[in-house]
Symmetry: C2
DNA sequence: ATGAAAGCGCTAACAC
DNA sequence: GTGTTAGCGCTTTCAT
């Protein structure tokens, strides 16, 4: 628990800030008039309004946000916290997905007049208690996330994924995980793959559980055995190891046919596409000749490998935008009815998942 | 832990917040007493203090931050903006260096009781005007950065790199760029390299200009021709292209000897190490056999390539910590004398820059 | 059309 | 020890 010493120390450089009353005195008008002029409220003669504005500008007047907020009763501050990564609370920005989600959240919020405060993953009350946040965005909460519980208990509106659906004070937007998995698997099937294997983290976020379920359903629907390897955690190390397991056939399989080498790999975990590609090569697979590869990733390096890697984008920007728009609607117009939104994913098909017409498009493992 | 009574099945209409005065009335005490009890200020009998605290907890009292801030005159809010990337204002988080710098800045600030607000790169007044930030951290400003000018003109304390040294209201911490370059070049020289080439972005940040200068100085001191390629911008594309230029010998060189193939490559631009390694291979270089490779990077994938890539870490966490500590000292104790700090870098030697004893690609333990 | 004054919730002098 | 009170700077009735 981080206890902040209560308000010791003075803002020692007592730079004389220009206040509304200073502008008023200078302009020979009243506080009210200046305020109205600056905010465009009230009925003022154009000359007076102009004079007020000009004086304020000349004096370098900048309204005091704290006073405004106190008056308005709202802080225009939104917290941002991710549910995963609770054991390494600040690592989430190293994931391209969260980096972009975070950036897009901040961008959209700022555009709507809200500042975003970065919180450590899994942070509880002590971290945000004295911040008076108008709401908190909880990205990818884990199952029964204490962060969500804590926030809701403190009556702070929570914006999160579909796992909070139905809870009072909670609103959601979510990625269409099921559609994503089906789309990716359909794609490799169209390209001729019959033995796809999936790598997905062993995490309790709604996204990952849904991916897992959608994969099982898809396999059942296509009469294909379920081949899945759960990665021990986020980060390249565990995911690469899982990829190795997936490709070396240590999978439980019911028949000899099922034990055949996989012909497609879907990695639903943030790992560096170049590293995944390297791993497939080390294990003797040519991509896309022997193995079609699709990574769920926002990592831009995917375009630069040889062959370029097909990625499934979760479209963090779209999620953030839809989310913040909804949240602002709730905050400002009390749209408590705000229905959740499901954001479709986008498959960026590149050479790694396209069965080559000629062998030259295939990166061969080193001999 | 949750200090708030559970929902009593109340629908969730905007429930009036519990104020200090409410707690006071409930406890049969005065606002002052409650405030003092909660803040640990003033002289109260232990029983009264405990009663006040208990009542506040029971009622789910949460202090209003806006009111506190208004009273305190400080918002406990720090802005964070990066100078580079102004043309893609939200892309900076995709750089591992800035991702970690940002995270560490937020972490350290929060620990000291300050919330960090993310601002778009290159943002001017309109973005932060009505935020009343106590200070703004400007990471890697470009030369004569308008962001810095704007902030200083608005009398907002600026925390940045050494390029702001001497300006009133500006404070700094910086990475020891010169030492970093010398360290890396000395290292490859010790490993036997005689024709190192450097790739550095064509940017006006202090870091990059200093890298450029330090490289020239080092070359002069060692009687080695200056081989440098400036990358067109950040991002993997331009940097990889620059690497290709560097390795295909399109360098201006004065003598035939100078045109010989380089035997070491120092990439001082955030590019994905696996991609850089791939590029060297495509051009027919064996690493470390033909070419020693060092990347200035915080990218964790460097450990996972084959061979692992030697990296020079700028130690963003150390920078953020030193920076925020200094900034807080300035803000809270008015240490206007606060001398800037130079943070040393760290070379993580891996196989890519260690000349193999035998002609094989054996990685050696880091020294 | 303009101004005076109340008050947002909190903290800290200053009484008692 | 504890309570009363005066603001922090702003917006907003409500008079004029």
């Amino acid at each position: 628990m981080t206890d902040v010493p209560p308000h010791r120390g003075q803002p020692s450089p007592p730079l004389p800030r220009v206040r509304l009353v200073d502008v008023a005195r200078e302009a020979g008008l009243s506080k009210t008039t200046i305020s109205a002029a600056l905010n465009g409220t009230g009925r003022l003669s154009p000359e007076v309004r102009e004079k007020a504005r000009e004086t304020a500008r000349r004096m370098g007047y900048r309204p005091n946000a704290a006073a405004r907020r106190l008056r308005a009763g709202r802080a225009r501050l939104i917290g941002y916290v991710v549910g995963e990564f609770a054991d390494a609370p600040w690592n989430f920005l190293e994931s391209p997905y969260f980096a972009r989600l975070t950036a897009a959240t901040a961008a959209t919020s700022l555009r709507r007049g809200y500042a975003v405060v970065l919180l450590p993953a899994g942070s509880l009350q002590s971290e945000w208690a004295d911040l008076s946040l108008d709401a908190v965005v909880v990205a990818d909460p884990v199952a029964d996330d204490p962060v969500v519980e804590d926030l809701l208990a403190a009556r702070i509106p929570v914006f999160s994924d579909r796992s909070v659906e139905g809870r009072p004070g909670a609103y959601w937007v979510d990625v269409d995980a099921g559609g994503a998995v089906r789309g990716a698997l359909d794609h490799v099937r169209e390209q001729g793959a019959r033995r796809p294997v999936v790598v997905v983290p062993d995490s309790t976020t709604r996204f990952h559980t849904e991916v897992f379920a959608a994969h099982e359903a898809w396999c059942a629907a296509h009469g294909v055995p379920v081949r899945v390897v759960r990665a021990g955690g986020p980060g390249n190390g565990p995911v690469i190891r899982a990829v190795e397991t997936a490709l070396t056939g240590d999978l439980a399989a019911d028949s000899a046919a099922d034990r055949a080498r996989p012909d497609a790999l879907l990695v639903v975990a943030e790992a560096s596409p170049p590293l995944v590609l390297d791993a497939t090569r080390r294990l003797g697979y040519g991509v896309p000749g022997d193995l079609l590869l699709v990574c769920v990733s926002e990592d831009v390096t995917a375009e630069h490998t040889q062959p370029p890697v097909t990625t499934l984008s979760l479209r963090p920007e779209a999620i953030a935008e839809a989310g913040i728009e909804t949240l602002v609607a709730v905050l400002e117009h009390g749209d408590r009815e705000a229905a959740g939104v499901l954001v479709p994913t986008r498959l960026d098909v590149r050479a790694s998942s396209v069965r080559p017409a000629q062998a030259e498009y295939t990166s061969r493992p080193p001999t």
